[in-house]
């Protein structure tokens, strides 16, 4: 008797729980996507449509904002700057980070690993103020050199962080066999270890590039007319008396879209890279 009533009651309760679950999930997704939706919608609106209340969700889109961003604002130049700095910071980061990570993994150089991870912990401004003084003296402010070097403070820890556990998982016997066959240490690393590390290198490169692309603080101090990057360019939009919201949103779309596409396409690696240190620790 007791059991049959609970079984009868259970079915509607299960439906209610499922509906509540769906509502909770949808509100999470809605909360996460609304700012992106708002960014894209307003990028295609005229100034009058943007301040209109209630906001229109269906309207005739205009491309004026994008024409403005690429025409009068010279945004292509900033995108190129960001690309050069991001690629430079990632390539040099890999060049010095990969052998270091390999050495840390093979020889358990934990103190070195901790020092590199310190760059992740210490507020960037601690390095930025003294480095600005140095770069100013050397005439390196507003050059790719100073921007790439400072962005590496962000990229290098990611590269080491992702690669150390990766190299640890590659069996030592493989390199030892290569050395027995007469390969040098460098040769064994380049032609045995690196080809097996594709996914790790992809993850590390994406994280390093994206966090350089997104970087604001180093760039706003060190970049001006010649090397201005996209986050600084978008910030400069609001320094005018009248904010051009349409242009601002169009610029936001232009600089966020490539990063989001990159993140979605390679999500499996990126999730692993962002959470790697946490799970191991």
């Amino acid at each position: 008797m007791q059991t049959s009533t609970t079984r009868l009651q259970r079915r509607p309760r299960r439906i209610v729980v499922n509906v509540l679950y769906a509502i909770a999930m949808l509100s999470v997704v809605f909360f996460m996507l609304t700012p992106f939706l708002w960014m894209v919608l307003n990028a295609f609106k005229t100034p009058l449509q943007i301040i209109k209340l209630p906001p229109e969700l269906i309207f005739t889109p205009t491309l004026r904002n994008f024409e403005n961003v690429f025409g009068t604002q010279n945004f292509m130049r900033y995108i190129t700057n960001s690309m050069i700095i991001g690629a430079g910071c990632t390539l040099i980061g890999l060049l010095i980070g990969l052998p270091a990570a390999y050495s840390i993994a093979r020889h358990r150089q934990n103190r070195l690993a901790l020092t590199i991870l310190m760059a992740r912990m210490v507020p960037g401004i601690t390095f930025l103020v003294p480095l600005f003084i140095v770069f100013r003296t050397l005439g390196l402010v507003d050059t790719y050199t100073s921007l790439i070097l400072t962005h590496m403070l962000v990229g290098l820890p990611f590269i080491v962080w992702v690669m150390v556990p990766f190299f640890e998982s590659i069996p030592r016997e493989l390199t030892e066999a290569a050395v027995v066959d007469g390969a040098s240490a460098v040769r064994a690393f380049v032609s045995v270890v690196l080809p097996l590390s594709g996914p790790g290198i992809v993850t590390a490169s994406i994280l390093s590039f994206v966090f350089s692309w997104n970087n604001f603080m180093f760039s706003i101090v060190l970049a001006s007319s010649r090397t201005r990057t996209v986050p600084v360019a978008i910030y400069n939009f609001i320094s005018y008396a009248q904010i051009d919201w349409g242009g601002l949103m169009a610029a936001a779309v232009v600089i966020t879209l490539p990063v989001l596409v990159l993140a979605i396409v390679t999500q499996r690696y990126v999730i692993r890279g962002l959470t790697a240190g946490a799970i191991k620790g």
Partner: protein, 292 residues
């Protein structure tokens, strides 16, 4: 000959370029900052780079704007961390609770807020927070709620900035906890089921205690980033209105790159650095105590 040399010394030759980078770009700047913090160097006040002893530190102790920045930093960090940890764990448990088609899509959506360029995101929130034409106050009005000043009000500015940080970084906690959940052994859950434990009992007595190490690492990661939040604060308020959202990071930035008081800014940096490493070490230490 050269390869033989490399082979013999690979232990330090492989990491050598990285070590040089660390010395030039990290250790030297830290030492230089410590040295500068005893200097009266200021471009705006026209003071040269001369040694003045610990005067900057004495000045800091009497600087109301410094104490205001300390309070703002801890207020922002504590509020953001509390909300993000609670929401992040709840979202992970929610996502983990059921299997359905399209679940993978939800996890990949989680990546979007934290990969998106923070300054671009800050600009979108600026438009949404706009007191008269913004959509958030419009929705509040429709729901019969009082309209808020958001980032334009001195008491609502930090909670509003926390909302943006929560939107941006809660997914990271969710992803870490999801990975932690996937790594938990299944035996304790089976034992709990056999013993007839309810969902709530299993959650409090089994799941959460086993997740505690994962949650504390996620918390430490968030602490490290929250306390130095720059992009969204500088991008949306610049520390205002007045100084009501000026955190240590923003105040140091202003001292260094707005007033060009390099000496005073360096003393601020030393204090800021000490606070961050102190709390991190404390958390790392207490974590070890917890596990042993």
């Amino acid at each position: 000959m050269i390869t033989r040399f490399i082979d013999r010394h690979q232990r330090w030759l492989f990491p050598a370029p990285a070590v040089i980078f660390i010395v030039v770009m990290m250790i030297f700047p830290l030492g230089f900052t410590l040295w500068n913090s005893f200097s009266g160097w200021s471009l705006t006040a026209g003071r040269p780079n001369t040694f003045i002893g610990p005067q900057n530190y004495f000045d800091l102790l009497r600087d109301a704007r410094f104490w205001n920045a300390v309070l703002n930093t801890f207020y922002f960090t504590a509020l953001a961390m509390a909300v993000e940890l609670a929401l992040g764990v709840a979202m992970a448990l929610l996502i983990d609770a059921r299997d359905y088609p399209g679940k993978r899509i939800v996890t990949s959506l989680l990546l979007l807020p934290m990969m998106a360029t923070p300054v671009a995101v800050a600009m979108v929130w600026l438009l949404m927070f706009e007191p008269t034409a913004g959509v958030i106050n419009f929705v509040f009005g429709q729901l019969g709620l009082p309209k808020q000043l958001w980032i334009a009000g001195s008491s609502s500015v930090i909670p509003s900035l926390v909302l943006v940080d929560v939107w941006e970084w809660t997914p990271l906690i969710t992803l870490i906890v999801l990975a932690g959940l996937a790594g938990l052994p299944s035996e304790p859950f089976e034992a709990a089921r056999v013993d007839g434990a309810s969902y709530g009992q299993t959650l409090w007595r089994v799941t959460l205690p086993m997740l505690l190490p994962t949650i504390s690492v996620a918390g430490l990661l968030r602490f490290i980033d929250c306390i130095k939040t720059f992009d969204i604060i500088y991008g949306m308020t610049g520390g205002g209105p007045g100084f009501s959202s000026e955190t240590l990071n923003i105040y140091t930035y202003n001292q260094a790159f707005y007033y060009f008081n390099f000496g005073y800014a360096s003393a601020l940096l030393v204090i800021f650095f000490t606070i961050v490493s102190g709390v991190s070490l404390l958390v790392a230490y207490s974590r070890r105590r917890l596990e042993v």
